[in-house]
Symmetry: C2
Subunit: 279 residues, 2 copies
DNA sequence: AGCCGGCGATACCCCAGCGGTATCGATGCG
DNA sequence: CGCATCGATACCGCTGGGGTATCGCCGGCT
């Protein structure tokens, strides 16, 4: 199957509408219809159920959507990494979530810069759950992720750091006087629901909590007395003065890992990982 | 980049010869030359250095060869998994090395077959280092691998079993009277070199030992007094009567893991993995 | 019931680009 | 100095991808 065909199918499968998909692809609708039919004929498998009113994925179609996206990412990654290998700028791109892993990141960059064979490291801060995409399609070389919150599926990883978590509350909240709290104490604080982070696909789960996009938003909401949050200990260093943190020993441990795409054979990346694990 | 172009480039990069590559691809040489030049023009990157006598990969070319193979595998996997999702036979394909993990495999298959939601499991035995390929290109759903000998790069894994290793010697060899041996004792046995396994690309490392392809060959050679080998304990159960095994406590522990491609969302596979980890 | 509007499929046409043949130009070899 | 090898170039034919026009189906509105 050609990547063009895969792109076409993914577009239709995402839009579930031939006209819009064709528009997105910058082609007319009839060639798109033909291309999809040809894919189905060659695979010998129906991918879409069409009525004149609605298009839906078959089970096989859902598989091809998932696998096709991964394959397209792989092709894109091949191109991008090839270009980067040639441009002579053998810099590394390290991606992490905005507002996370503050101290660790600084230590890593300092230690790596001191290595004899180090190259420039570009740090990219991105929103939640974009790291995987960047790593998969070749725009980034490595990522700092937080287990168990981030997925490392498909990547090689090394653990760097483990830490407990704290509950973050508005300063002055009654519970802030306690030396530590249990998960049961903070599971359902009246008026302080947990925020809802966007899922990888951009949508939000249903629930009572406010929708948040980044740490700053979250802190703002907590300060306003509208939310609470369980965060890794290391966030205390960058907490605003109007927030308070109380340790929660029985919260799941957060492990910071460095992740990179498999098949990487870059010496610079290997050196960065070596530096990271020996911190 | 289209998969056709990737296939063309991979062929040339592997053959390092336009004529042979064209023959392998079933096309004439001139279109192939043109296609490669077009790829280089579009990427803005030289991939091959050509003289009229020799073709060699540039550094960027080597990157594209590696990444391109992975991308082609991903595309092929997408097609294969889509076809398999549709044919209604939701069977699983489990791949493992011939002659390895005997007892564990039987237990796993029995336990899984007893699950209420189990489906047919096809067991594929293959030579060393083909498992990764099968898993990557969608012909297999899961593999049983041995750490540290096999690579799990790019796959998700769960550990199933850890065991020590034994040295396998011809029956009657003086050392077989010992209750156990150290690595130092068996590192360099006179006349009994370690065999050389094929590498993933099919070639063999240089060295004194005989080249072997599978366990039967190896046992034959040991019985003939031409080789010795360090193997996992569990191999004792299937050892021929003319061979003897002595524990080597300081040999690296062999961990059997079950590995599967990331992005898998198959319920049947999830169930198999759950069964495996709860053995 | 009848009309309309939206949507995917079909019919038909055009041309970009892929692949083929013939040939050139460079280079290592006897 | 021919000769053989191998990649690049020139040129040509045709397949197939993309465009426009239109059809057929169906749900909804009045």
């Amino acid at each position: 199957m050609e990547t063009r065909e895969l792109r076409y199918f993914v577009a239709v499968a995402e839009e579930l509408h031939f006209g819009r998909a064709a528009q997105r692809l910058g082609i007319a609708q009839p060639p798109l219809s033909r291309a999809i039919r040809q894919i189905e004929r060659r695979l010998g498998v129906p991918l879409l159920t069409r009525s004149s009113r609605a298009v839906a994925l078959t089970e096989a179609g859902a598989v091809l959507l998932r696998e096709g996206r991964a394959a397209l990412d792989a092709v894109e990654a091949a191109e991008r990494r090839t270009r980067r290998a040639a441009t002579g700028r053998p810099g590394l791109v390290l991606v992490t979530k905005a507002g996370a892993v503050g101290e660790l990141l600084v230590k890593l960059l300092d230690a790596y810069a001191a290595e004899p064979d180090s190259v420039a490291v570009e740090v990219v801060l991105c929103g939640i759950a974009e790291q995987g995409r960047l790593l998969r399609d070749g725009r980034a070389d490595a990522a700092l992720l937080h287990l168990p919150y981030d997925s490392t599926t498909g990547f090689d990883t090394e653990e760097l750091h483990a830490e407990g978590q704290v509950v973050v509350l508005p300063a002055g909240h009654p519970l802030t006087s306690r030396a530590e709290l249990r998960m049961a104490d903070v599971a359902d604080l009246p008026g302080l629901p947990r925020p809802r982070w966007p899922r990888p696909d951009g949508s939000h789960a249903d629930g009572p909590g406010p929708q948040v996009r980044d740490l700053a938003q979250l802190c703002q909401l907590i300060a306003l007395g509208r939310a609470s949050a369980i965060l890794p200990e290391s966030c205390r260093a960058q907490l605003r003065h109007d927030l308070a943190a109380v340790p929660v020993p029985d919260a799941p441990t957060v492990t910071t890992v460095i992740a990179w795409p498999p098949h990487s054979r870059s010496l610079a990346l290997a050196s960065l990982i070596r530096t990271a694990t020996s911190l």
